[in-house]
Amino acid sequence: MIPLLVLAQAAADAQPSPGQVGSGRVIGGWEFVTAAYVLTFLGIVLYAASLWVRRPRS
């Protein structure tokens, strides 16, 4: 019984840190989500700005 409890405790201690693959599930990862959406909106703004700068003047 005691070895089983030790194993269970070891498994609980072995939780992966946020954003890393461990038990087959991704834990955390909001920083990646934030980076993805920041990049998306930055891309839209920058490309729209480049079109504005190059717009036909006539």
Partner: protein, 253 residues
């Protein structure tokens, strides 16, 4: 939000695109409607993906990246397929409208493809453990970006509009192999990338957000191509029209 709303929204860009061959100046009047729909679609899609969708069983929170990654890559593929159609159109009919549209769609396709691929890399780090791997889907996407960057570079190699249009139309026509390979790579080759995303294959809770986002990016792509097309047409006018036709004083160089 009812799931049929995005499908109704889809009627606007599809209807406008179907009407364009019959009314060429339609986008001059309605591009702001498409821009507003792009803001609405991307805004609602992002809101739902970030704040309404529960974490997925295996991917957890990072599944939310799909609502931005997939629509951008899909629309990049759509843009380069448009580049192929316009390139072929130019080779057959020598149409300057086709040449300007081909240039515009290649640039917008490159922009959407670059951001979409970068988002894929961001998603891959927490799920696959690496930002990049030489998987068939990723490799073919990288080849596509390099090819269309080369296409745009080729257009800078000559000042002769006719030569430039013919060279780039040939490149654009051969280029159709690439988006087809990108799309089918997950089926044709052993790939760790998911199969093509559709409402049947993506996380069911994400489908509505995904639809709003996809339609928003479709409208954004059309608006960007239209605005880039106007720039290309203006450049072409400057190159082929005599200076007096553009209002320059008589005798000016």
């Amino acid at each position: 939000m009812p799931s049929w709303v995005p499908l109704v929204l889809l009627l606007v860009p599809v209807g406008i695109c179907l009407a364009l061959p019959f009314k060429r100046d339609l986008l001059d009047k309605v591009w702001l409607v498409l821009a507003a729909e792009a803001v609405f679609g991307i805004g609602v899609g992002t809101y739902l993906a970030l704040f309404s969708v529960p974490p997925e069983r295996d991917m957890g929170e990072v599944v939310r990246i799909f609502a931005a990654h997939v629509p951008q890559v899909q629309n990049a593929l759509l843009a380069v397929v448009l580049n192929f159609g316009c390139s072929l159109w130019f080779l057959i009919r020598k149409s300057w409208v086709a040449d300007s549209l081909a240039e515009s769609s290649a640039e917008v396709g490159l922009y959407l493809g670059a951001v979409g691929t970068a988002l894929g890399a961001i998603w891959a780090k927490p799920t696959w453990g690496v930002y990049w791997t030489w998987d068939p889907r990723l490799t073919s996407a990288a080849v596509m970006l390099i090819y269309y960057a080369g296409y745009l570079a080729l257009r800078r190699f000559t000042d002769n509009p006719d030569t430039r249009a013919t060279w780039s139309a040939a490149l654009g026509t051969f280029g159709i192999v690439i988006p087809v390979t990108v799309y089918k790579s997950v089926v044709w080759m052993k790939s760790m990338h998911q199969v093509q995303s559709s409402p049947e294959t993506v996380y069911p809770q994400l489908v509505t957000a995904f639809r709003f986002s996809a339609i928003g990016f479709l409208c954004l792509m059309i608006v960007f191509i239209y605005q880039r097309y106007r720039i290309a047409q203006e450049q072409l006018k400057r190159e082929v029209a005599p200076p007096e036709a553009l209002g320059a004083p008589q005798g000016a160089a």
